[in-house]
Symmetry: C2
DNA sequence: AATATTATTGCAACAAAGTTGCATTTTTGC
DNA sequence: GCAAAAATGCAACTTTGTTGCAATAATATT
């Protein structure tokens, strides 16, 4: 899905300076179908010597630029994923996170638009501005 | 809503041994309309001298017993809340978490049953077993 | 192509949240 | 009350992520 554009082109498009660290990290994220932790990315990159702090800052820069987003896991860490192509056209918020209870991978999945509509709440006085839908179950790899 | 039963009675009901720490922590949780952090609870209890590790373990015991549940926050900490009365009758999973973007409080809110039904996903091969719906916006206290 | 400006990087030290091991104290069924 | 099992307190530890700062690299301009 990202095959049309190179990491460099994408970084330019998102207004980010093109650095070694960013090219490498973006490349890793582009290969992955699932959201990755700092540790996941770090181990796929090192050998190419990259400081852990730089990786944290690289990921932050991607999130701030709107190129990636992050998901909190049950064990208080962050996973990062690029926005899906569909999300670039539509709103960025409207997708679900699927957490596999077997392998713990987290996938970003598009929602059927109608189902993603605002959910009515019994109580009043709560103004809903955005939402996150998180699904738990078993992923295709695990059954 | 919990006024009918005392902390002691509730602890018995959930098969937990009645200890000072548990009675105090349960009391604090019963007073609160929102989910509380370890720090929130700790500061409301101390003076009554209670070790931080004991509080962690107390909260875990509540979650394991099914008396309380925990919600991960954006800053990678846990908040704890008692299950709502409605949830005790119905399933425990079916409620939404409302995160106020102003005061950062997290409320447990019941969902309209129809809206909580399974959301269809475009991809196939993902078996959904449970879900969490997290809403962001402004709470009644903040507007 | 060299220079100036500004952002990024690496390193070391630090912070916050939560966990573990173990000896001591409480709880509870009898 | 007594014994068995569970809960507690304390200290040390782990994991994840952050901060300050000097050195380096990226870009726009000449
Ligand atoms: Mn996602
Ligand atoms: Mn809740
Ligand atoms: Zn899986
Ligand atoms: Zn609020």
């Amino acid at each position: 899905m990202y095959s049309k554009k190179s990491p460099k082109e994408i970084l330019h498009q998102y207004g980010l300076k093109v650095t070694n660290a960013r090219v490498k990290v973006l490349h890793v994220l582009m290969q992955s179908q699932v959201a990755l932790s700092h540790g996941d990315i770090f181990s796929r990159i090192n050998g190419n010597g990259l400081d852990k702090v730089t990786l944290y800052r690289t990921l932050s820069s991607f999130v701030n630029a709107g190129l990636a987003h992050k998901v909190a896991t049950e064990d208080r860490t962050w996973l990062h994923a690029l926005h899906m192509p569909e999300e670039r056209d539509e709103g960025v918020e409207d997708h679900a996170h699927f957490v596999c209870d077997t392998c713990e991978r987290i996938y970003c999945l598009p929602l059927v638009t109608e189902a993603a509509a605002a959910v009515p709440i019994k109580e009043s006085g709560f103004q809903v501005k955005s939402h996150e839908y998180r699904l738990h179950g078993t992923c295709p790899e695990c059954h």
